[in-house]
Amino acid sequence: MKVEVDLKKCQDHGQCVYAAPDLFALDDEGRLSLRSQATDVYVADVDEASAEALYEAAEVCPLQAITVHE
């Protein structure tokens, strides 16, 4: 499965970090750490084992910046 994070929508609320700490992190500036790897849209493969946490992250993101692709 894949995760897609729209970094233009994301406002670094970090709620995804609480839901899926293995997949998301904030950097020292308090910004989503994926920002160092992409500017507009971040896409990555995610292990099926993390599916539940990933879906929770997508659900709680207040900006709806996270999309999960099966």
Binding site: K8, Q11, D12, H13, G14, Q15, Y18, A19, L26, D28, E29, G30, R31, E59, V60, P62, Q64
Partner: protein, 398 residues
Amino acid sequence: MTVTTAGPASVTGDLLPFRDPGFRADPYPYYARLRREHPVYRHPAGLYVVSRYEDVARLIRNPTLSVQQLDFGPAAPIHHTMLGKDAPDHTRLRRITNRWFTPKAVEEWSKVMRASVEAVLDEVEKGDGALDAADGLSLKCTFETTCHIFGIEPTDMDTIQRKTYEIGLSLGPGGNDEEARATTEAFAWFAGHIRRLVSDKRAHPGEGLIDAFIAAQDEGRMTEEEVVHTIFLFFAVGHLDVKHLINHGIWLLTQQPGLFAAYRDEPEARPGIINEILRIDTPESMVVRLTTQDTVIGATTVPAGEALALLIASANRDPEVFADPDTFDHTRPLAAGQHLAFGSGMHGCAGQVLARAEADIVFSSIVNRFSGVELAGEPAYAHTEFLRTITHLPVRFR
């Protein structure tokens, strides 16, 4: 207290007269001067006021800043809520409530809000089209929605509004002794009222947010104090800022017939219109944080243990980010969506999906049903240095 640069300390006079009625009515020229001349301003009350977008946006996400160590004065009970806690307590409390305000959950709450708004407008249409939109629409409908989420009957609305406002008076840095007393009394009233609601709920369980808090307490994930004060928090945030978004939006519709038409005819413009209402008259002027280490802000180094007031309402008018910032323009490029009205970072607003949905329901229902709206009297205000508030908004729909 030590000040490590001459910048902020060299200012004489009060550039941010929190209690001045002129300032409260229209703080924006004061903010503009601060941004230009004193972007990090040491206020006579002791705190450092930060007014430029770039600084505010960076600091509001700075994980070294604390809210738990802040002295909230008479509003100290807020430390029993996520708003007054740092990680890991903040994380624990926020995770309990986050699921209740996801877009999927908000679809459910929107049905309640829509029914409430339609019921009010039905009555308006039967009558002469006149309404005090502040209490009769914005407060009533958001309050009923909050109570539905809680799983309780919508009772004591006027008292809850008044007591919340009295607590709000002490949230900004400009409070006085009389306001502090009112705040203490209001917290005591809420504690009594909420403990009654909770024991009622224990006797007659349901599936609301209050039931979820009771379950969390029984499982050891929340303390009793946290349950009581978190319920207070949602009573407060359930109407306070969103009411201003709706009221200011309706007022703008009375002033700009073009906006009324745009909201009706261009559904794709609606999110941008809501963002611009939030930007141009940001309901909550500031968020406050405590430094825990030397913190560099532009040319100023603020030492540990100092309170920072991050003026989100000023950041949202910074011409460096928002061209012609004092003009309402909902067609601003996307970057303008990055206003800071909901804060950002860890404490970023937990209810922003709900707030946007509630505002959209009100504005959509109005433009779909009526051909225009005008003022039917003078609006009345009770702005503080912390919160924008319209207390009366007499309008007539046609």
